[in-house]
């Protein structure tokens, strides 16, 4: 079921990184300026879409740096 989560995350990200094709292990934070609004929208999207709570201690760049990391973070939270 890995791909259901991943597909949704990719779709969400494509709204922000329209011109680029992002590899699953590519650091999205190195692609350019990541603004506060994107960060907030990403967190709210994950919470709503996957019915999880992103706690303060989860707000670590290491959980959100790549599509792979976001996917495994969601899986971990859902477990």
């Amino acid at each position: 079921m890995e791909n259901a989560i991943k597909a949704k995350v990719k779709k969400f990200l494509s709204r922000f990184f329209k011109s680029q094709e992002i590899a699953d292990d590519q650091d999205i934070f190195s692609l350019g300026f990541v603004n506060s609004l994107f960060a907030m929208q990403l967190v709210l999207f994950l919470e709503k879409e996957f019915d999880i709570m992103v706690d303060t201690e989860d707000l670590d760049l290491e959980n959100f740096r790549t599509i792979d990391l976001i996917t495994s973070f969601v899986e971990k939270k859902q477990a």
């Binding site: 709204r15 922000f16 990184f17 329209k18 011109s19 934070f29 350019g32 300026f33 990541v34 603004n35 506060s36 609004l37 994107f38 960060a39 907030m40 967190v43 303060t56 707000l59 670590d60 760049l61 959100f64």
Partner: protein, 348 residues
């Protein structure tokens, strides 16, 4: 006591005498109402309408009276007034506890009071006392308060364009031609600076408030940097929308205050200001720390800090002390032109 940021008016028997649908052309403005509306506007208090009425007819009447332009997001429909008020509050993006509702009918006030207990309810019979109420008297009236309604009007225009904009967010932001200026707080800015510390809740890292006198001292203090942020774009000015206070200590620089008006929520300004501070710290070769006080409303700033690479050093209840190792300082984004005035130059 909370200061009121927006007064929401009923129409029949409140703004005018009579019932529009029954009396039509015969309705007359209540005595003194224009003066009240104009004075609230001058004080920077926003105004809107929640009326059960025929929308087209009511707006035409307001226009005839020359009052239509004073109201943001007027809600004229047959829904419960509490739901209209909710809509206004969401559109303006302010706290429910900064709203006052004026209506002549006890039934309507009770309905609103039951659904939205934070709203200040005012009987239309008491409007002659409205201007004297402490809640309706902001501590200062600044240029930004006098222009507040107009600035919200430009926001409405921007929002319409944003909603119809097809394409990624960054392209929309680029289309605005934003110019951000960061400058040291001057005497002229002190009232607005105090107003910002008092009024800003969502995009505020600590919620510390400072008085005019305290800010004036900090402005001259060799151990502090106090900066104010100004934003404009092709639709007009947003005014002075942000404030930064750094405390420069021997062992590190501390961000005591980082706040922005919620009107710039969707402009990505938070990250720009944080990156400005990070560059400044880097060029001065100092350790950068940030105080943070968690509230139920400032989560966006917490996320902004965390995603900018700030790490918790200490956590004590709602108080967090962050440190940033400055290993990743991002350049400013292309969609906004940043100018730093009269302070240590920061490369762009």
């Amino acid at each position: 006591m909370k200061k009121i940021k927006c007064v929401i008016w009923d129409l029949d028997h409140t703004v005018w005498n009579g019932v529009l649908l029954e009396d039509g052309d015969n309705v007359q403005l209540r005595e003194g109402i224009v003066e009240i509306i104009q004075e609230l506007d001058r004080r920077g208090i926003l105004q809107s309408i929640s009326s059960r009425n025929e929308e087209e007819m009511a707006m035409a009447k307001l226009k005839e009276f020359g009052l239509d332009e004073y109201f943001l997001y007027p809600q004229i429909n047959w829904n419960a007034k509490s739901s209209s008020i909710k809509k206004i509050v969401e559109s303006i993006n302010i706290g429910m506890d900064t709203i006052a509702f004026v209506d002549d009918q006890p039934f309507e006030r009770e309905e609103v009071g039951a659904a939205l207990p934070d709203v200040l309810l005012i009987d239309a019979l008491d409007t002659d006392q409205l201007l004297g109420m402490p809640e309706m008297n902001p501590t200062f009236i600044t240029d930004d308060s006098k222009n507040r309604r107009l600035m919200y009007m430009s926001d409405i225009k921007r929002k319409e364009i944003e909603e119809s904009f097809e394409g990624p967010q960054e392209e929309f932001l680029a289309s605005l031609g934003m110019e951000l200026t960061i400058s040291p707080v001057t005497t002229d800015d002190l009232q607005r600076a105090e107003e910002l510390t008092v009024r800003t809740h969502q995009l505020n890292t600590t919620g510390y408030t400072y008085s005019y006198e305290e800010l004036d001292q900090l402005r001259h203090s060799p151990d502090h940097k106090l900066m104010i942020v100004d934003l404009k774009d092709k639709y007009g000015t947003y005014g002075k929308i942000g404030l930064i206070l750094l405390e420069c200590k021997e062992e590190a620089w501390y961000i005591k205050l980082l706040l922005m008006s919620c009107r710039v929520m969707s402009r990505g300004i938070g990250s720009i200001l944080i990156n400005y501070i990070m560059q400044l710290a880097k060029e001065n070769n100092v350790t950068l720390r940030a105080e943070f006080v968690k509230t139920d409303r400032n989560r966006m700033m917490l996320i902004t800090y965390k995603f900018a690479g700030f790490k918790e050093m200490e956590t004590n209840g709602n108080h967090i002390l962050f440190e940033n190792d400055l290993s990743l300082v991002q350049p400013y984004p292309d969609y906004v032109q940043v100018t730093v005035k009269d302070t240590i130059e920061v490369s762009n």
